[in-house]
């Protein structure tokens, strides 16, 4: 089994892709999707396994630079990477690669070379097709469909994993249907989304023959360098006055700005977190009641909530509960931060639970926000809830 190297996707696939299976990244035009196949290839190179890159739409000499944009250095893994050159033949250039497709416009020529590579590899490997759509454009739809069946059969026999990048240009509906439902063991859709006010790119599992995990779409962003990150456009941090919300936002964020006057937030804290494959924007609300209209306005479309409470101040717990109502937090993933744990008289998370009547399903985590203690644990707990695998 190999991993895709994409946060959360491996969870959906129950660990990754078993040997002998095929997976296609089905990419809607206009979406940054080709990075998916690249990230899977690079992840496996970095794990020390053998990989094959079938270059159909870029010059093998340029591939290195494309990977470098994401911070991935192919030279460090040269001995494990085989590039099949299905490009130079198109532009009449000579090739330095061991495996060259003489005529990339002929499916037989392509078939011959790819079969040969698969047979000659001495171990189970990851084979990545840079662009199945380019092959289709050059060789024809029907011809390519027959070839895919052949490659996948070969992959199964020799226990290789086959990864395809496919951009869903307007091909024949039957072709697209075959690709989505028939030809591959797993189909990951990568598309654009404009739902209510959440605009962005998502991926989801359309099908995975070996996994029965339900489909859930994930928003993502592509960082250069960095590659694919699960993107969470809004996490709201709320809580009573002086609980340490702004401190929490700043402790968590790589970059944050606050609108504060005389030591208290009057409008908003806004921060950005990039942590363990997740990228999130954090909105911190003011705490005082006079700002309630702003809190109400800013908490729309939140995907998760942090409720920060001062563990030494039980009087404020009523207000804290009220703030969950103002932010319409009920039903959203919620993590309670029991802040100021280093101060005397601080209640333990479990005492807060009984004082506060918080159901067992909601996590209460200890933190000392001004020392940065517990903030990333809390972040991981919340994104886990937001992206929970059903």
């Amino acid at each position: 089994m190999i991993e895709t190297g994409i946060t959360k996707l491996d969870d959906y696939l129950m660990g990754g892709i078993p040997n002998g299976k095929s997976l296609v990244y089905y990419i809607h035009p206009g979406v940054e999707g080709n990075v998916f196949g690249m990230q899977t290839l690079y992840h496996n190179l970095a794990e020390g396994s053998k990989c094959v890159f079938i270059a159909s739409s870029s010059d093998p000499l340029m591939i290195k630079d494309t990977f470098k944009e994401f911070g991935w250095n192919l030279d460090a893994h040269k001995e494990n990477l085989i590039v099949v050159d299905a490009y130079s033949g198109l532009v009449g250039a000579t090739s330095n690669e061991k495996y060259v497709v003489e005529d990339p416009e002929s499916i037989d020529s392509l078939n011959g070379t790819i079969e040969k590579v698969m047979e000659e590899l001495d171990e189970s490997s990851t084979i990545m097709f840079e662009s199945l759509s380019t092959i289709m454009d050059l060789c024809g739809e029907k011809e390519t469909i027959d070839a895919i069946k052949n490659w996948n059969m070969h992959g199964m026999l020799y226990e290789h994993v086959l990864i395809y990048n496919f951009t869903a240009w307007p091909y024949e509906p039957e072709t697209l249907d075959l690709i989505k439902h028939e030809l591959f063991d797993a189909v990951i859709t990568v598309g654009g989304i404009a739902e209510r006010v959440i605009f962005g790119q998502y991926f989801g599992v359309l099908k995975a023959e070996w996994s029965d995990i339900e489909l859930k779409s994930m928003l993502f962003r592509v960082l250069r360098p960095g590659g694919i990150r699960i993107y969470i456009p809004k996490i709201v941090v709320t809580g009573p006055y002086n609980a340490g919300k702004s401190t929490f936002v700043h402790a968590l964020s790589t970059r944050a700005v606050s609108v504060d006057r005389i030591g208290t937030t009057v409008a908003l804290d806004h921060g950005h977190v990039d942590h363990k494959g997740f990228s999130a924007d954090i909105f911190g609300t003011p705490g005082q009641e006079r700002f309630d209209p702003i809190i109400k306005m800013l908490s729309g479309e939140a995907m998760g909530i942090f409720l920060v409470v001062d563990s030494t101040n039980t009087k404020d717990f009523v207000r804290a509960k009220q703030m969950l109502e103002i932010t319409k937090a009920y039903g959203l993933p919620l993590v309670v931060i029991a802040n100021k744990q280093d101060q005397s008289g601080a209640l333990k998370p479990e005492d807060i639970r009984s004082h506060f009547n918080i159901p067992e399903s909601v996590q209460i985590l200890p933190a000392v926000a001004d020392k940065g203690v517990g903030v990333f644990e809390a972040f991981e707990a919340l994104v886990d809830k937001i992206t929970e695998v059903a």
Partner: protein
């Protein structure tokens, strides 16, 4: 649905053609970035969107509390430029940054047109 994004980006590109406009953003009323046209990558469009939504929202709350109805726009003037935030339908808002010498007249007319268009799309 990706074409909604493209339409919003076209509106921003058209707004940019008005003399003096340096950057523009479409955000949701609750502060999420929908589309942006910002030349330097140093500014984080997400933060700009969140703060503009807060500003406009606070201004609207302030004036309605005083019984003066909803403001048409918020204009912030500084030595280095002007920032204009205006509602674009119930869900979105449009914000532009201009250079300090930009004439407001034409910009406000164009903003109103753009806001009308956004209102129809979002």
């Amino acid at each position: 649905m990706a074409n909604v994004i493209e339409m919003l980006e076209k509106i921003l590109a058209d707004t940019k053609k008005v003399g003096g406009v340096e950057a523009s953003v479409i955000a949701s009323r609750d502060g999420l970035l929908m589309a942006s046209n910002i030349p330097s990558s140093s500014a984080r469009a997400e933060t700009f969107a969140a703060m503009s939504a807060t500003m406009l929202g606070a201004a609207e709350t302030a004036t309605t509390e005083l019984g003066k109805g909803i403001p048409d726009r918020v204009i912030v003037e500084s030595e280095h430029g002007k920032l204009i935030a205006t509602g674009a339908g119930p869900k979105a808002l449009l914000v532009v940054l201009t250079d300090p010498n930009a004439g407001l007249g034409l910009i406000l007319v164009e903003l109103e047109k753009a806001a009308e268009k956004i209102k129809k799309i979002v």
